[in-house]
Symmetry: C2
Subunit: 300 residues, 2 copies
């Protein structure tokens, strides 16, 4: 008797051994070098080399104020706080993140489909794109917690089933980012390497990992080597600006003891040619509000 | 019958009500403007205005290496780790601070009495000085914890009995201070105001407060107003340099998720004309290894 087994090809295996290993990325970072814009060739080259790009003054002062007002309103809405798509700080019970805002909130739905965002990402990813995940991140003053070093793609591959890192995130700053209030830090160039993490994925890992990273975390030796090789960029900048960064960037943020909170809108765009499949290293996919399976192109 | 009560004068009352209040500092910051050096008038003016001063390349490369080696040795010494003068991180049990090193360790005793340090502080404080407290601070990579905003003088007054803020600290960097590995942050100019903190002092407060601040912490409204008024300076700089800062500076540091540890030697000099009395807001003084009552002048 012959048993036929369909083994799915996995270009980025992870969480399958006791060791962390580092391999080259197999896929390009920039997929369309030939479009007329909106990004210039210089901007694409910089994104390709570092894994991120800063957009100054993406939002007008009026748009910024509207987003801020909406943020304040949502943080105080008891229905929102009780929703499973809302994550609160482990110690203080303050709202840390609200997911799925591109579907549940009119203001952020419009923003997620705004051509200023969508066209840039389409250019980088070389196709139509859809929103894989969206969220508001609050980092309150005094008690804002840190987030350890990780590649988003590792999690999206392992737990959400994205086949390749043909995805990009846009973080829109709603507050000023200083070096001292827990800004985004990246290791520029790290997106060209893939860290195959140790260990398995515990059931319902997402509930814990959204607050404190557990599975899918590179080991300290790898992170030290990465920091020595790539350095650390601290992404400061005024409210209303944004950062586009590659899904496989090694990034983190420190806690925040200053009085200045840090809030942003976080939108993850994935290529419609890279839609989510079954998870590559988890028993079941994460909930719809974290990893969308609605592949309708954004901005259409 | 007449009962005579000796009431000690307290120019800086604290922890005596339910509210935080802010008052002017009554005492000068710089006590000797006329000496020939080593600090220039410009340096004294800057220190007077901001409450701190940076010394570049205080230690030679050889001295720096000697201190680092000693630090490593001490962190791995099980006797040192078990000593009451050693404080470990709440979560990771790694060594956070070792106190009293100017008395227990030959290398750091020599450093604490080094004329490069002592003469500068004598000039600022306008008298002979003695070491009120000494310690090594380790802020390990990945798990280094934050330290909230506080004035050292408030604690030294309340718990150690220093009458006035005629004291200065020197923090000698044994590792490079980047904006991202939890460096010292100060609010420049805040040393000219005294924050009279709310609440009492719990018994054995020092055991907790050395790891996480509790009593003697300004409220959030005051800290927000201070940050808005004074701003926040992030004190970056290479290993071997040092920062002298006034005992009443409002300062803090964020946690550290980067691989780069942050270590420093911390020496507190107090004027011999400002020696410790009974605590001003605590039942009994803190242990000798935290607040010294040996008033022998340093560097003699």
């Amino acid at each position: 008797m012959t048993t036929q087994v369909n083994v799915r090809q996995d270009a980025y295996p992870t969480r399958d051994s006791d060791y962390t290993t580092v391999v080259d990325r197999h896929d390009p970072v920039v997929h369309d070098w030939d479009s007329a814009g909106p990004l210039s060739v210089q901007e694409l080259q910089s994104y390709d080399a570092t894994g991120y790009l800063t957009i100054h003054e993406l939002l007008s002062p009026e748009e910024l104020q509207q987003c801020r007002d909406e943020l304040q309103r949502l943080a105080q809405d008891s229905d929102v706080k009780a929703d499973e798509a809302t994550v609160t700080e482990a110690e203080s019970n303050e709202v840390r993140s609200i997911f799925n805002i591109h579907r549940t909130n009119a203001i952020f739905k419009k923003l997620a489909n705004d051509p200023r965002l969508v066209r840039r990402v389409e250019q980088i990813l070389g196709s139509k794109v859809y929103v894989h995940q969206s969220r508001i991140n609050y980092k309150p003053g005094f008690v804002g917690k840190e987030f350890g070093w990780h590649s988003d793609f590792e999690t999206w591959h392992a737990e959400d089933g994205l086949p390749t890192p043909r995805a990009a995130s846009i973080s829109i700053s709603l507050t000023d980012n200083y070096s001292f209030n827990g800004p985004l830090m990246t290791m520029p160039g790290s997106h060209k390497k893939y860290v195959r993490c140790a260990g398995g994925t515990p059931e319902d890992n997402y509930k814990k990992s959204l607050v404190m990273q557990g599975a899918g975390v590179p080991d300290r030796a790898t992170l030290t080597e990465f920091a020595d090789n790539y350095g650390i960029d601290v992404l400061e900048g005024p409210a209303g600006g944004a950062i586009i960064f590659d899904s496989n960037c090694m990034h983190a943020s420190n806690g925040n003891v200053t009085p200045y909170s840090r809030s942003n809108i976080f939108l993850v765009y994935n290529s419609v040619e890279n839609t989510a499949e079954e998870p590559f290293a988890a028993a079941s996919p994460r909930p719809e509000f974290i990893g969308s399976t609605d592949f309708t192109p954004a901005g259409d």
